[in-house]
């Protein structure tokens, strides 16, 4: 190390730097580097520095000359003050320049007018094609098991009149007295003098029938589901729904803005794996509300949901169940109390049960039943309840009478089940179609075996089949119909809605007719 005094004074900060940056492995230290520089400098010291110093002195004197004797505020002005002032000016000018932004040019009035003139909207509706002009059959009498179309007597398998209550005298009596007392409409929503005592009686009767704490009545079957779901499911919640649910439920799911995951139609393994995936993937999902939405008897396929397995899965993963019992209320179970009785599950395990009354109960409207907190909440937050007029009172009294009839006549259910079994026997060996519904469901669904590939073609073929059944054999059957808004992709087919009011000859007739038409049209 050089014990030079100059080297030492420079070496102390360098030592500090050395402590921080030096790498012992390389053997290079800051100290040695500095020492090297100084050795170099010491050699060139004499010539270069002398010249440099002379030049610097001369410049300083030249610049100092003009202000050599100026004293401002007791400070001698030196040449460097001018340089600093100049630099200061330059900085000020640069800062005051506006930064470069590409100029914004909003559209002028004239340009806006031109755009408005040029714009051509699409027509309100696309052009009408021939298949859109199909007219439905017009009934001239009540839609019971036998009805009149175009003056001819027709066997009706297209009404969801499962217990044959259409045309029942008790129902007609109670409706007539309600009409004479209350008129037809209720003229107001439930919050503003639209609550008639018949509504309250109907709600109590349904709660008693199903042994649930409370019930709320809706004025339209389709609006029940799409008002209930957005009431409880908000943005951010998780809903696991069956892919075959009907349009009302799909609309409710869309309006709720929650995250929706579909599982394969009526497949419990798919449901289990979906629930597993959701609960393990997302640790945060413990604080989110989670729902499973299913139908008891699916309108689009006639399958029955295995409620006992769903309840087991729900309790394992802590989900809540919303069940639509439109086609199973009054039909399944020993006394018609629905899917819970059918599977032997206590109804308290299902959190929300909704149903449309336009099926077994032969009236209109819908209801939702569950525990008191859930029902109370809907009375103020369910949009289809608060912002819409209430159910006409005669339809509510028809519902009460229908439930009384079901309670007192359990043999209707037995008859209906027998008819379903008979129909299954008759349709077992139909060609070109196969029975895709559950053997106990009142919706007997025949799906097309060989689909042509395009849903539209299939629907047209089925429509032709239903038309011919009506014209040639006087039979009304349901062919699947799809709106473009419906997202369900289940196979299409012919639906037969079995009623307790049909006779055995009706069932034989429909099996023969369908077998004949299937062999003519589908092969």
């Amino acid at each position: 190390m050089i014990e030079n005094s100059k080297a030492k004074s420079f070496a102390s900060p360098l030592l500090w730097a050395n402590d921080i940056f030096c790498s012992k492995s390389t053997g290079i230290s800051w100290n040695s580097l500095a020492a090297l520089c100084w050795i170099h400098r010491a050699k060139m010291d004499t010539n270069l520095v002398e010249m440099f110093r002379a030049g610097l002195n001369w410049v300083t004197m030249a610049l100092d000359a003009p202000s050599a004797r100026v004293v401002l505020f007791g400070v001698r002005i030196q040449w460097h003050i001018f340089v600093e002032v100049l630099l200061g000016f330059v900085i000020v000018i640069l800062l005051s320049q506006k930064s470069y932004k590409p100029p914004k040019r909003p559209l002028t009035e004239q340009e806006i007018d031109e755009l408005c003139d040029e714009w051509v909207p699409e027509p309100l509706i696309p052009p009408i094609t021939e298949d859109m002009r199909h007219e439905p059959p017009v009934l001239e009498s009540a839609a019971g098991p036998h009805t009149t179309v175009n003056g001819k007597d027709v066997v009706n398998f297209a009404s969801a009149n499962y217990l044959g209550l259409i045309g029942h005298e008790k129902l007609l009596e109670s409706c007539t007295s309600a009409l004479e007392k209350y008129g037809v409409g209720s003229c107001g929503p439930r919050g503003f003098y639209g609550t008639i005592d018949v509504h309250l009686d109907c709600e109590t009767r349904i709660s008693k029938f199903l042994s649930t704490p409370d019930t709320i009545l809706y004025s339209y079957g389709l609006s029940t589901m799409f008002s209930t779901i957005p009431c409880f499911c908000k943005k951010g919640d998780i809903i696991v729904a069956d892919e075959g649910v009907h349009w009302g439920i799909q609309n409710g799911l869309q309006l709720s803005r929650s995250t929706i995951v579909y599982f394969k139609h009526n497949d419990m393994d798919s449901l289990r794996s979906t629930l597993e995936k959701i609960m393990t993937k997302n640790k945060r999902s413990k604080n989110l509300r989670r729902y499973i939405v299913a139908e008891a008897v699916y309108q689009n396929s006639g399958q029955i949901a295995p409620l006992d397995e769903i309840v087991k899965l729900k309790e394992k993963y802590k989900f809540r169940v919303i069940l639509d019992e439109s086609n199973s209320f009054g039909v399944l179970g020993r006394s018609g109390r629905g899917l819970a009785e059918h599977h032997g599950v206590p109804i308290e395990k299902i959190d929300v049960v909704t149903a449309a009354m336009g099926h077994a109960l032969a009236t209109e409207g819908g209801f939702c039943t569950g525990n008191a907190r859930i029902i109370d909440y809907q009375r103020l937050s369910s949009s289809g309840y608060v912002f819409s007029a209430s159910l006409p009172p005669y339809l509510a009294s028809a519902a009460i009478t229908a439930i009384d009839v079901i309670d007192q006549n359990p043999e209707l259910l037995v008859k209906m089940k027998q008819h379903i079994a008979l129909l299954w026997k008759g349709l077992k060996d139909i060609k070109g179609m196969s029975l895709a519904s559950d053997p106990e469901s009142p919706i007997v669904f025949l799906k097309l075996e060989n689909s042509s590939g395009s849903t539209k073609e299939d629907l047209l073929l089925l429509e032709k089949m239903a038309d011919r059944a009506l014209k040639e054999d006087s039979l009304l059957v349901v062919s699947s119909k799809k709106s473009f808004l419906d997202k369900c992709r289940l196979p299409v087919g012919i639906k037969l809605l079995v009623s307790a009011g049909h006779s055995e000859s009706d069932l034989v007739k429909v099996s023969e007719s369908l077998k004949r038409l299937a062999s003519e049209l589908l092969l």
């Binding site: 439905p136 919050g191 409880f232």
Partner: protein, 479 residues
Amino acid sequence: MITIPYLTAVSTYFSYGLLFAFGQLRDYSRRIFDWWSTNNLHGYAPICLAHEDFYIRRLYHRIQDCFGRPISSAPDAWVDVVERRTTKSTRCLNLGSYNYLGFGSYDEYCTPLVIDSLKKFSPSTCSSRVDAGTTSVHAELEECVAKYVGKPAAIVTGMGYATNSAIIPVLIGKGGLIISDSLNHTSIVNGARGSGATIRVFQHNTPAHLERVLKEQIAEGQPRTHRPWKKIIVVVEGIYSMEGEICQLPEIVSICKKYKAYVYLDEAHSIGAIGKTGRGVCELLGVDTADVDIMMGTFTKSFGSCGGYIAGSKDLIQYLKYHCPAHLYATSISTPSAQQIISAIKVILGEDGSNRGAQKLARIRENSNFFRAELQKMGFEVLGDNDSPVMPIMLYNPAKIPAFSRECLRENVAVVVVGFPATPLLLARARICISASHSREDLIKALQVISKAGDLTGIKYFPAAPKKQEEVKDTIKLD
């Protein structure tokens, strides 16, 4: 426009603040004193978070006797309001039901026909319209409605709310624009949201703002991509149910024609109630029905039934019948209700052989104008245009809502009061609906009771007009 007096605004904010503070205090003490009460749902997220139903629990439940009052008779001019938890009922004058033409109870022409059709067709068809739910009554109803409204064809569904929710998504989808009035009904908002189109709002009943919004939106195009819009639908209502105002239809229709937008008119309250023959706002304001592309309405208010309709060109209705979910999947409208609508239309048009229809229409117009004029003379702040049967009286303060309602009920007059969230927070009101079945004596009694209740609650925000009798007395004295 509603201009709230400064002092009233301050006192209303103060009242709400006080209620909010007390509500929070009660919630807090409930949390302290009740923390040991368990509920069985461990591991489940609460179905309703505390702040979501705070308003319901702490503000609404205090005055819930003013809402949802049960009745035990038909919703006619006089109605039996049931006292809760008893079987007692009191006969009250009904100023709350939507019974504009008085069809809400037993009618000598309509009800026998309805009972006949009930016996023939049963309360329900249990089937959707395309399967086996179309009866001859439904076909007749659609023709009748189309003729009445003044359009080539119509389609009828079982519920007015569901009509909007199911039709708007069929007509417009992603890539379209819906411009709706800021005070439109929830059913229109739900239908618009369900369609997936972009939604823009224009100031209530202001055609100038509508024009500005239209120009801006057409020039800008779709958000982010700036592609031109596929189509634009402007949605307005005939009578707005919370304001009683009639829409400025001629200006709006001319603006929409200029910018090639489609007009959707929701006549829930105005069909059957205004216009010389009850044909709604188009007749009243002289707008040609061919200029309005889609006319929608409900049968609950003026026809005393249930259900909704859409009227338009034949092609439009055919398209809707093929695609509308309410037509394909929902149970068809109950046949006796359909018969009631047909009979009510026949009475209104005088086709039943009497002039009851014309009498009803004249009576509702007289009643509404008389009532509104008298209320304004007394110094109440009444909203709404002339000829409209809906009259909101401003209350503002949250404490006056139950006070006014209970005072009126004590004197056997049943009124409807509305607060947040159906109206803006500061603008609570009492809404009167006049019916053709109210007689002049009924209205005078109602005026007396409302005046007394108004004095007690202090809602006469405007100075009362001087009484004419005083002037006459003065002149006599001079003589």
